[in-house]
């Protein structure tokens, strides 16, 4: 079992981000991303569990910018059809990073099915995603670079340990997040 949590993964990931538009999942993932470094390129999803991968898919079809979704196992399991829609309609500039901690982290680390018998990388392949990258925490830089250099859609699955630091809710209003993001997404 991995001993490092999503927070330590995001600590490694945030300095690697370039011009990607980023969608972050509801709850702790968005709070951790905001804490590690706010950006006008970030869309913090505050509600609608399960929708992060779909929001990012819509963005990647609406812009030529590269889109990175930071999602979780519980959320992907709540919207499993997304994997087949990504496989069939996902464009080259789409990257779905599933940070799989085997738990519903924001509600108290109750186990998800990936703590049991379920393998999300295998499900992504079964859905028809041709680029599925299973990586360890140490490989995040090379996995991201591979996704940048090759045509997607890409699904990256990284197993981490459950658990999160105690952080505050994001102090930005939804409409502020919306307007700031739209200005940025139209920039290029």
């Amino acid at each position: 079992m991995p001993v490092t949590r999503r927070f330590e993964l995001l600590e490694k990931l945030v300095p690697l981000l370039q011009d990607e538009l980023v969608v972050s999942n509801i709850g702790f993932p968005s709070q951790e991303l905001y804490f590690l470094g706010d950006s006008k390129r970030h869309f913090y999803m505050l509600g609608s569990m399960g929708m992060a991968s779909s929001i990012g898919l819509g963005m990647s079809l609406g812009t030529h910018r590269r889109v990175l979704v930071i999602d979780g196992d519980g959320s992907v399991l709540m919207n499993l059809g997304t994997l087949s829609t990504i496989a069939n309609f996902g464009p080259a500039n789409y990257i779905l990073l599933i940070v799989d901690n085997g738990a519903y982290g924001s509600t108290g680390d109750q186990p998800t099915h990936t703590s049991g018998k379920t393998d999300l990388a295998a499900m992504a392949r079964g859905a028809g995603v041709s680029s599925v990258i299973e990586a360890g925490l140490e490989d995040i830089a090379s996995a991201l670079e591979h996704a940048r250099q090759n045509n997607g859609p890409h699904v990256i699955v990284i197993r981490v340990a459950p658990g999160s630091p105690a952080l505050n809710p994001i102090p930005l209003s939804p409409v502020y997040i919306r307007d700031r993001f739209i200005r940025e997404s139209k920039r290029l």
Binding site: S48, G50, M51, G58, L61, G62, G81, T85, S185
Partner: protein, 167 residues
């Protein structure tokens, strides 16, 4: 003479719709086929309407104007995303719904959701408008402008007679 589906798609596009998410219905079969063949618009077919609501949010955030073509049952499938995403962030989205389970329906199983859909839309504070004549295709297209002015989702419920030519 253009069909109601041809006039509806043309009107939606004229009002700025350039991205279509569709979940099939027998009534909208021609419209969905026309969308899938139209090179001027982007078309995505998700597995479920809730997924479509997420896709449409991303589409608007990246600068395009989305329309979802679904059955009214899809409003039930996507209620949480419509409230906690589209309404929360005040995102325009036109929901073009075939109104199954309304008068003209032949399948009894469609009726409960046909009756419930307006109450669900009311509870979600989504303005909705019913259309029951094919001559109203251009009015449905005009809702693309309204959803952008309103900065919230807007629904059109298209009854059986809307899809029947010459009524």
């Amino acid at each position: 003479m253009l069909s109601v589906s041809q006039r509806l798609l043309e009107s939606l596009k004229q009002h700025g719709a350039d991205f279509f998410v569709t979940v099939p219905c027998k009534l909208s079969a021609e419209l969905v086929r026309l969308i899938s063949e139209d090179k001027e618009v982007i078309h995505v077919a998700p597995t479920r309407e809730e997924e479509g609501v997420g896709i449409c949010a991303g589409v608007y955030l990246s600068g395009k104007m989305p329309v979802m073509v679904i059955q009214n049952s899809g409003i039930g499938n996507s209620a949480n995303a419509l409230a906690a995403l589209t309404q929360l962030y005040q995102l325009p989205l036109l929901l073009v719904c075939t109104h199954r389970g309304s008068p003209g329906e032949r399948i009894g199983a469609q009726v409960p959701m046909g009756i419930a859909v307006k109450g669900i839309l009311d509870a979600l504070e989504i303005p909705h408008f019913s259309f029951n004549n094919h001559s109203q295709a251009e009015q449905v297209g005009g809702l693309v402008a309204y959803t952008q002015v309103a900065q919230r989702p807007v629904a059109a419920l298209l009854g059986f007679d809307f899809w029947r030519e010459g009524v």
